[in-house]
């Protein structure tokens, strides 16, 4: 029971991370393509400026929670993916620095450099996170004691790449919808228009990944009912984005994109359940909530403390999002 709660807490935190950091990563990924001028780029960064750092904490906190609740999983996955994890770290660092420092010196070269760094690192992070999720869902080739040192070629399977592609298009769409909802004028309209085009890519990749997942497991999933329900909700909200109401109100598009991502992440988590590290093929080295679950003694204390804290975080995050101005304007270009 404690294992199930712990599993759900971590899945919920990663879902929150995808929802929240997802939009600012998505904004980053499309910023160079979408923006036509430097002020437009600045407006995009400004729209995420107050929030991105708090959003990223969901990843760090999820890491800490995984460490506390499933230390063996933390140890095996972080050391097994040593180089990919370090690359993710460097990208996170580069991206954070880019956002914070881009306006601290005057000059277009400075701005262009950091904006490119911001965009490229955002895109690569989404891709890497997607590939990682794909590998987790598909299963990893482990040695008998559960440790493994991932080679890049063993990680870049067609399925993992497809999930990476899904992450890229889904978060690009999410970022575009966020921009459409938070920036007025031509830039916001353009974002909504481009989101409409990216939508087709999301639909195609989503169907392909879902089909591949179903074929891969052939019904051997304890979490199948939840996965199917969540996948269906995701599909419905995706289709809902084509509705007239959503096309007229950007906020609604953004909300539906949020529902779509929640559906995706819940479906992925249900597909994982009860595994934390799923071996493939075979079962040697598997880590599930049953054999990796920590003893309940301290969890009876720490886990409730964390859950209360997370509810508080949700509360004040929403409060802060509401307090800050809803809309950002594009600055006039100076000559």
């Amino acid at each position: 029971m404690a294992g199930i709660v712990a599993f759900c807490v971590i899945a919920a935190m990663l879902t929150a991370y995808t929802l929240l950091d997802g939009y600012d990563l998505g904004v980053g990924a499309i910023s160079l393509v979408l923006a036509k001028t430097r002020p437009e780029r600045s407006a995009m960064v400004e729209s995420i400026g107050p929030f991105w750092s708090g959003n990223e904490v969901w990843l760090v906190a999820a890491g800490g929670t995984l460490f506390a609740l499933f230390p063996k999983v933390y140890a095996v996955s972080f050391s097994g993916f040593y180089l990919p994890f370090i690359v993710v770290l460097w990208l996170l660092m580069f991206r954070g620095i880019a956002i914070e420092l881009r306006e601290r010196l005057p000059g277009d070269v400075w701005l262009d450099f950091w904006d490119t760094a911001f965009s490229v690192s955002s895109l690569l992070l989404i891709l890497l996170f997607g590939v990682a999720l794909g590998n987790l869902v598909r299963g990893l080739s482990l040695d008998a004691d559960g440790y493994f040192f991932g080679t890049f070629s063993s990680l870049l399977t067609p399925y993992a790449i497809a999930v990476g592609a899904l992450a890229v298009v889904a978060l690009a769409q999410h970022g575009l919808a966020y921009l459409a909802a938070h920036i007025d004028g031509r830039l916001g309209e353009r974002a909504l228009r481009v989101a409409g085009r990216v939508w087709w890519a999301v639909l195609i990749v989503y169907i392909a990944v879902t089909a591949a997942t179903i074929v891969h497991y052939r019904g051997e999933l304890p979490g199948a009912p939840i996965a199917f329900a969540a996948g269906t909700i995701a599909l419905l909200s995706l289709l809902g984005m084509r509705s007239r109401a959503a096309r007229e109100r950007a906020v609604l598009t953004f909300r539906m994109s949020q529902v779509f991502l929640v559906g995706l992440l819940v479906a992925a988590s249900a597909t994982m359940y009860p595994y934390l590290i799923r071996p493939y093929p075979g079962r040697a080295g598997e880590l599930t909530i049953f054999n990796a679950s920590p003893p309940s003694g301290a969890l009876a204390v720490s886990l409730p403390i964390a859950i209360v804290g997370l509810i508080a975080v949700l509360g004040y995050s929403i409060f802060v999002h509401r307090q800050m101005p809803a809309k950002v304007a594009v600055r006039e270009e100076k000559d």
Binding site: S42, E46, G49, P50, W52, S53, G54, V57, V60, A61, G63, G64, T65, L66, F67, A68, P71, K72, Y74, A75, V76, S77, F78, S79, G80, Y82, L83, F85, I86, L89, W90, L92, M93, G96, I97, E100, L101, E103, R104, L105, Y147, F148, P295, G297, A298, V301, S302, I305, A306, G309, L310, V313, Y316, V320, Q323, M324, P325, V328, A329, R331
Partner: protein, 452 residues
């Protein structure tokens, strides 16, 4: 290269670089809150500008602190998988609480602090500044409590498969070892913050720019530096030493360069440890003082290193030198704080250029002393990663080779070099621009919200 050595080098490098920035954030955060409070209470422009100035410096500090802090948590899993698998249930819990309770509030409300000025109610803005301060100190406490547990494990049981389980989170958080280590660390950071304020103020006075700000910063900075430095020594440093004396006597012996057990043990002020010959070279000592400091009795026995098998010794010379650097620099900056405080009281400080120069030049000392203090704590804990329970030698990831670690260490060195240059460039530029006319990200018109 030995893989554990490579892992240790990487951890040492990344954490020592990282810690430079928490010193700044924990030290400056109270002043950000204080000047925002003054600005709101008095409505004076000068305080509002001071608040904005220190917020700008704080923000760059915080940003570098965050991006260099995330690798620390990652490294437990990437480089120290065996340690994480064995002790993760213990270590992970305070770190999880840190993420959920401290890191979140800091990040979310710093966003408010940077982008919310003039756009949200003033009271909420001030509250954000206070929350960021408290969040940064809470974060510091939970990290130090985690380390304190590795120094002196409490509230645990050993499971049948030799994993360490935490039986009492309260015991970990309320451990006296953690309390005194944290208060020592946080007073060190507060002293650093005071000296940063005073140093920047002294610079303005010496440069004859922003004289009013210069006086304000020197005044406030010196008062805080004086109070915090005094608290660094007593009671926090003293009590911290008592905990080490009781629970880590080998570390104490290494810190003091005491090879032979002695009643009436002397305190070595200066000297070079000669480990092969088990003695201090050219020592200057105060007779009996170590016995008194450790046990409150000039005749008490203090165990020397030779009372313990050499495989339980930490690296003696490094522990010894780091400890003496900490105490030596600490003594110097505390003396400067006292003299500056006296001159301030006599209303002569602003007209004493020599003292202003001293305040300017002493700025790095609290940083070096803090880093050296951590070297004492962590190197002095060796050969243990968890004192008495797990050796560092057994803690590294079994499936990561030294080649990978050295490769990523070189990457970190390159990246941090760039970060350090950027940090200095931007901070010095902020100081050069000065408190008047500061614009921070998100402020109109620099980032241009229409109509604001």
């Amino acid at each position: 290269v030995d893989v554990v050595l490579a892992d240790r080098m990487q951890f040492a490098f990344t954490i020592m670089f990282h810690y430079l920035f928490p010193i700044g954030t924990m030290g400056i955060a109270p002043f950000v809150a204080w000047y925002n409070y003054r600005a709101m209470k008095t409505g004076e422009q000068q305080y509002a500008q001071a608040a904005r100035f220190w917020t700008t410096i704080f923000a760059v500090n915080f940003a570098v602190g965050v991006v260099t802090g995330i690798p620390m948590e990652f490294q437990f899993g990437t480089n120290w998988a065996a340690f994480s698998a064995k002790a993760g249930e213990v270590i992970g819990q305070p770190l999880m609480i840190e993420g959920v309770y401290a890191f979140f509030v800091e990040s979310v409300f710093l966003g408010v602090l940077l982008y919310g000025r003039g756009r949200i109610p003033a009271a909420l803005y001030l509250a954000s500044a206070v929350i960021v301060w408290l969040g940064s100190w809470l974060s510091g406490f939970l990290i130090v409590a985690t380390d304190a547990w590795m120094q002196h494990p409490v509230g645990y049981t050993i499971a049948s498969d030799s994993r360490i389980e935490l039986s009492s989170l309260a015991a970990l958080l309320l451990s006296p070892f953690a309390f005194w280590q944290f208060t020592h660390v946080i007073m060190g950071a507060a002293a650093a913050g005071g000296f940063i304020l005073a140093g920047v103020g002294a610079y303005y006075l010496l440069a004859r720019r922003y004289i009013e700000f210069g006086r304000e910063f020197v005044r406030t900075g010196v008062i805080v530096a004086l109070a915090a430095s005094a608290l660094v020594i007593f009671p926090t440093g003293d009590k911290n030493g008592d905990e080490v004396t009781v629970y880590q006597p080998v570390k104490l012996a290494a810190m003091e360069g005491l090879f032979k057990s002695e009643h009436e043990a002397p305190l070595a002020i200066i000297g070079m440890p000669d480990v092969p010959h088990r003695k201090l070279i050219d020592p200057i000592i105060v007779p009996d003082l170590l016995s008194f400091l450790a046990y409150g009795n000039f005749r008490a026995n203090v165990d020397g290193l030779t009372s313990y098998p050499t495989e339980l010794w930490p690296p003696v010379a490094l522990t010894y030198y780091a400890y003496h650097v900490m105490v030596g620099l600490g003594t110097i900056f505390i003396a400067i704080a006292f003299v500056a405080g006296f001159l301030l009281w006599r209303r002569r400080l602003f007209d004493t250029p020599l003292m202003l120069w001293a305040l300017l030049l002493v700025m790095p000392f609290p940083y070096i002393a803090s880093e050296a203090g951590w070297v004492v704590a962590e190197v002095g804990r060796q050969p243990w990663v968890v004192y008495g329970l797990m050796k560092t030698q057994a803690a590294a990831s079994p499936n990561v080779g030294s080649g990978e670690t050295i490769f990523t260490l070189i990457g970190f060195i390159g990246m941090y070099f760039l970060l350090g240059v950027l940090f200095l460039l931007l901070t010095l530029r902020t100081i050069a621009i000065g408190p008047a006319g500061q614009a921070i990200a998100g402020d109109a018109p620099a980032a241009g919200h229409a109509g604001l």
